[in-house]
Structures are given as C-alpha cells and as structure tokens.
C-alpha cells in the first residue's frame, strides 16, 4: 500500500481538490494530469487551468477486489469520464446505483473523501463524479 504521508497530501491539495490541469500557451493543448512539457509542440510554457466539472461517462468498472486501503469501501464503481472540453479523467463514481451505470450518462464532479491513511494518518479528499443533477 502507498506509504502514509502528510506532506504528500498537503502538497497535492491544490490540484486534487479541484480539477486542475494545464494549457499549453503555444498550441492550446490541455493536459490532465499536468505535465512540464507539451508533448505536441514541446513548449515549456504551460499555464494551470481549471477544467469543466461536467462530462459524460465513457466506460466504467465495479471493483470487487480492491487495493488494501480501499478494502472497506468495496464494491465501488470507477469510471473514465470525458469532460465537456474533451479532457479525459479517471475517477470514482459516487451516489449512484450500479444499475444506472451506462456509457453516455451525464456526470459531474463533486468533492469527496478518497481514502484514509490508517488509524493515525491523515484523511485524503478529492474529486469523484456523480450523475449530473439537472
């Protein structure tokens, strides 16, 4: 399992609490997660950008045999989501009955608890997706 670490969770807050990627200043390509160099035009000038919070579900799975730190949450669903600007994100799906899962449904980002680092460690938060409320 991943080694518990307060500094890591603290450092990651700024891009895990919101959907933050980067946009290439030269060619406009968007990356999530952020990268240091644009793979298309090789520019090193990239600016953080907050990504759209709505998208559609492209694919999903239901995890029955989880990594140890997620054991108490199983079974749970994880999806591949395409955001409104075309960026793709892997995230857990929450507040949804498994029978509603279907490629093409509209989903939106919400702020949720991700995992806990044992009895004495820190609790990690971040983005999950739920069915879009309309």
């Amino acid at each position: 399992m991943v080694t518990p670490s307060c500094p890591r969770v603290w450092r990651e807050q700024k891009y895990k609490y919101r959907l933050v990627g980067v946009r290439c200043n030269r060619c406009g390509s968007i990356y999530y997660p952020l990268v240091r160099v644009c793979s298309k035009c090789k520019s090193t000038e990239l600016t953080p950008v907050e990504l759209p919070r709505k998208g559609i579900l492209l694919s999903y799975t239901i995890i029955h045999y989880p990594p140890v730190e997620f054991k108490k949450y199983a079974p749970y669903a994880v999806g591949l989501v395409e955001l409104e600007n075309g960026t793709k994100v892997i995230a857990q799906l929450t507040d949804i009955d498994f029978s509603e899962l279907k490629p093409g449904i509209k989903v939106e980002a919400v702020f949720r608890r991700l995992r806990e680092q044992g009895e004495e460690g820190i609790i990690e938060y971040g983005i999950k997706f739920r069915r879009a409320l309309e």
Binding site: K16, H64, V78, I90
Partner: protein
C-alpha cells in the same frame, strides 16, 4: 553494433512456491540457464534482473547485490531493471544493449517475482503502482479495473462480445496442459470463464492472470562467441525495441490500442528486416483476456477490431497462421510479473531449437515476444531467429 545471440536458457516451474524465497527461485533459474549453455557462473560479467515489486512484497530492494551474493559472483555488474509488468522484457533489452555495444561479452538477462508472500489486497495495492499513484491509484481502481475500462470501450467500439474475448484464455489453458512449467495445466470452457467470479466488472476471474511465483534466465553473448559455445543451434536476437506511452489510459486518444506496442513492433520488425507475416511463433502479454486480443492487432497480425476472429478461426493454434501463447500465456503458464518477459524469451528459444514438446511448431525459425509494463505505458518487443 555487434550481433547478439542467446546460448542458454533456464526457468523454474511457475506456481505457488511456499518453501522457496525470491533468491532461491532466481538462483535456480540462473543455474539452469548456465548449465544449458555449458558454461560456468565465473564466466558471467553482468546481470540485468527484471523485477517489479520486491520492495513492496518482500521489503527487499538492491536485488543486484543480493542475487550476485547468493550466486557467489559478487563483483559482477548487477542491477534490477523495473518497468512494472514489463520488467522482464526491459531487463532483456538492457542485456541486448550490453552485448551489442561491446561493453560485456557474457550477460545474464533474468527475471523473478515472488507474489505469494502477501495477501490479495496487498498484492492489488502493489500492482496498481504500475499506474500514476497521485491521479489514478488514488481513485481506488485496481489494475484489473484499468483493463476493465478498456474492455468495455473495446466491446462497444468494435461490437465484440465477451464470449468471443473469453476464447483467448480457453485457448491458453488448452495448450498449458502440455507445458511442464505452466501453473494451470488443465482445460477450461467459455462457459466456465463467463460463470467465474467478477473481479472488476466485466472482467471475470478466469480472464485474469494469476498470482504466481517464478524465475527465468537467459545467457547472452556476441554471435561470434556463440558459435564456439554451442555449435548445434544458435538463436540470434535480430530485433529488440522498447517504447513508452502516456502512463495512464485517460491521457490517450484511443485507449483500445497500445501505441507503445505499435511503435516497438515497427522498430523491431525493421531491425529484423521482416514483416508480421514472417513470424512463426509468438508470445504476447495477455495479463487479461482483452489484452491478448488487442496485442494481436497492435503487433500487426489482425486489423483493429478483428483480433477475436484470429482466435475463433484457429489462426493462433499450433497449426494456425500465427501460433500464439502455446506456453499457456500469462493466464495459464502464469505471470510472475518481473519474470514473465524472460519466460517468454525462454519459451521462444525452445520453440526455435525444436525443444517445445507437444506444442512444438513445425520448423519454427522466427519468434516474437511482447512484454507490457502497466496498462501499455512501456512495451518491449523482441524478435529471435534460429541460425543453423
């Protein structure tokens, strides 16, 4: 660049080796390979050791020194090579570079993984480290889950059914019956696959490579030297290429094709001066059933979306056009992660030498192995040719 040959191969049976440690398994494979080459350990100058998770599973790093010590050859150059599930293929690639460059004359490409030391959920945590810990592992997805995302995309994009994809593990279990070192030597049916436990929907247990212990090794040297070491049958490494891709599948335009496979294969075919039609026997990296199908397509043996037809039409059978995974593959031979890429090399060498027993392909001359790290973030393609 010097031409590179393989003069010895060795392996352990793949399975649950409760009484053997990582170092025991590795030493057995190396001793078998050295003996097969008719050489002695003192001839070895360097070792590249494929392994993914010894730090996580055994609390043990620094395998180069550890395993050189256990074999009594401390002093040689020895390092662990890690590229997730492609570690074995990557270690072999490094060994090829070491000989081709002229830097060393006798090198061991080894691989070892000891997976049964921990429970399933700890193993699941170790394996997802093959993907991005910060952005992907933190979602709780398992490695099987990543493959499941691709599986569903593939079925939808190409209108392929699970019962067709499930024929891949059935094919492998059939051939594993006749392979002494395979983990699961019994046949299964498509019905059994589709009735087995759901691991990560839609992936079923009998579509997943198992938890395996094992080690394998190959002895490499310059071609000219190989002619002196063994006159009978020399296997040359005619192509070896490693390519990377974006580590996570959400960073790719089309997750149903592994660009790293396409690129590594193109380069390896070019080095070997052959086309996919010239390949006589193949070992692909089918950690999950769907990958076997995608691999056949990405390596150029089938059009995209048509991989299942090769399986259904018997083209990957021993008598078929492109005999594939006659070892039982990752599903039935087993998948001791960092060792698997070397098992594939050993199996191809035995096919080219005509030593593969009941699953021997008639007069096989050119063989190809493909080793995948993570969900296609690294792919190594090696092409071997028999010289008589």
């Amino acid at each position: 660049m010097r031409r590179v040959a393989i003069v010895g191969v060795g392996l352990t049976k793949v399975g649950e080796h409760w009484e053997q440690s990582l170092r025991d398994l590795y030493a057995q494979a190396v001793l078998n390979a050295i003996s097969d080459a008719g050489l002695e350990l003192k001839d070895v100058q360097a070792m590249f050791i494929g392994n993914m998770s010894s730090g996580c599973l055994q609390g043990q790093e620094h395998l180069g020194s550890l395993l050189a010590t256990h074999l009594g050859i401390q002093g040689v150059a020895a390092v662990k090579v890690e590229a997730a599930c492609g570690s074995g293929g990557a270690a072999f690639h490094q060994a090829v570079l070491a000989i081709a460059s002229g830097y060393y004359d006798l090198v061991i490409a080894g691989g070892v993984e000891k997976m049964t030391d921990v429970g399933t959920e700890y193993l699941t945590s170790a394996l997802i480290m093959a993907d991005d810990q910060e952005y992907v592992a933190s979602t709780g997805i398992s490695f099987a889950g990543l493959n499941a995302l691709i599986y569903r995309l593939y079925m939808e994009k190409y209108n392929v059914k699970q019962e067709d994809i499930a024929q891949f593990p059935v094919h492998e279990h059939y051939y594993a019956q006749f392979v002494d070192h395979a983990q699961y030597r019994y046949p299964i049916t498509v019905e059994q696959v589709l009735r087995s436990t759901v691991v990560a929907d839609p992936i079923r247990l009998l579509e997943c490579s198992p938890t395996s212990d094992g080690a394998a090794a190959a002895v490499l040297c310059p071609l000219e030297m190989a002619k002196e070491i063994r006159g009978d049958c020399i296997v040359e490494v005619v192509g070896s290429a490693l390519s990377t891709d974006a580590i996570s599948l959400n960073e790719r335009a089309d997750p149903t094709t592994f660009t790293a496979t396409v690129k590594a294969a193109e380069k390896a075919y070019k080095m070997a001066k052959i086309t996919p039609q010239d390949v006589d026997v193949v070992e692909v990296h089918d950690a999950y059933s769907i990958l076997g199908i995608i691999d056949l397509e990405d390596l150029g043996f089938a059009e995209k979306g048509r991989g299942v037809e090769l399986v259904k039409e018997g083209e990957i059978a021993k008598e078929g056009r492109i005999p594939t995974n006659l070892s039982g593959g990752l599903k039935a031979r087993g998948h001791p992660i960092g060792a698997t890429g070397i098992y594939q090399i050993v199996e191809i060498v035995k096919q080219l030498r005509g030593e593969f027993g009941k699953n021997q392909v008639d007069n096989a001359e050119v063989g190809l192995s493909q080793s995948i790290g993570g969900i296609g973030g690294t792919v190594i393609v090696n092409i071997l040719r028999r010289l008589r």
